[in-house]
Point group: C2
DNA sequence: TTCATTTGAGACATTGATGTCTCAAAATTA
DNA sequence: TAATTTTGAGACATCAATGTCTCAAATGAA
């Protein structure tokens, strides 16, 4: 079934992201190939793991590219990044969980590079006044990636509908869990598909007052 | 050094949370004991892993208890939970990453129980009007735990100062990453209010000025 | 059809972690 | 001090996963 290298790697992620110690038998079975063929494609477990990691990093880097995180305002850039990275959330989950990759220089460098791009995005957003400055850009980067990974796990285990993923991630990360006093009825019902697609109506953004007096101690 | 079982388990977490495949030698060394003694305390790797998982779940359950998540308003309850769970964030990171524990009934039941309590907290918060209803309580539970785990990893690797952990977690999770326009006056930002360029779907950017930690020393 | 290539299934040796043992050194207690 | 207990270091045996092979079957091309 999956004779292509990347296809095999994606099947491997499905197993490895949840059980890093899975045997090669399992991985081969998940990919629909025999252990012999798996071994022909990737000479050994270590090579397989490394290639999965590299695939994940390539995909995340591609997501940063297609989102154009270096351009424009930070907030829409981050929303684009959400849309671009959610499809590969499972790869990111693998990256987040598999930390024994970090003794590999190639992976390490690539990883640092992407994290630096993410960090720069948040820093720019803070400088633009879009993101909060009480939270360090490093923490925002870290937390964002953790949530992308969380989305990957949740989708894989069926706890989160793929359709809701991008919306849930973007809204929680950007807006937080607290409900705000209504502005207009803006946050409409269910997001559905793709938050990136335009929705002509809500073009106005009414800012409203701060949270009212529902104050607490 | 660490002759107590729980002390050994905590040392084990320090290793296992980042490298689930660490050898028993490493774990023993990290705990400051010999492999023989480690084996006397825990008969086998499987037992050790299981006990670490149980310790993590017990600690998280204790955090839910001391925070009193079943009582009072949901938001302050969650803030209390943050404070109570951050000290054991590394244990939670282990729980989040080690998913091969889930074939153990005892652990599974305990896990489901705590997640149910978390879920109930968010559900109550939504009914009280404190938490957003566009995000499912299940997703909020999941994301919260992911961020707790993220805090654990970040602290362990020195990317987050322990002093900042509770604040960073609570503020990001509750308030989100977006800066809110100042309530009282002067707007500082430039691009925040640029109506033209921003993303359509845009949740309302209404806001609260999530005041920083109310409950912090 | 025939030939060439790839795949799958299994056998086999290797490797390395684990489980188990012993005994000397250290620690604790009387 | 002497006696008891605990610990550490190491030497094995065991066992499971991996790496490597062969060969028949399947696939695809000519």
């Amino acid at each position: 079934m999956a004779t292509d290298r990347d296809t095999v790697l994606e099947a491997a992620v499905g197993v490895l992201s949840r059980r890093p110690t899975a045997h090669l038998d399992e991985i081969a079975r998940a990919a629909g190939i025999s252990r012999a063929t798996l071994h022909r494609l990737f000479p050994g477990r270590e090579a397989l793991i490394r290639e999965v990691g590299l695939l994940g990093l390539r995909r995340f880097a591609a997501a940063l590219d297609t989102a154009g995180v270096e351009e424009g305002d930070a907030e829409p850039a981050l929303r684009r990044l959400v849309d671009a990275s959610v499809p590969d959330a499972m790869l990111c989950a693998f990256l987040a969980g598999e930390n024994q990759l970090y003794d590999n220089d190639e992976i390490n460098d690539l990883w640092e590079l992407q994290i630096a791009r993410l960090h720069a995005l948040f820093l720019r957003g803070q400088q633009q006044g879009a993101f909060r400055i009480e939270l360090s850009a490093a923490w925002l980067s870290e937390a964002f990636f953790d949530l992308v990974a969380g989305v990957g796990w949740a989708i894989q285990d069926g706890r989160l509908a793929p359709r809701d993923a991008a919306f849930s991630l973007a809204e929680l990360f950007l807006g937080g869990a607290l409900r705000r006093p209504e502005a207009t009825g803006a946050t409409a019902g269910h997001s559905t598909a793709d938050p990136g697609t335009t929705d002509p109506l809500t073009s106005d953004r009414s800012t409203t007052d701060c949270r009212p007096d529902t104050d607490k101690p």
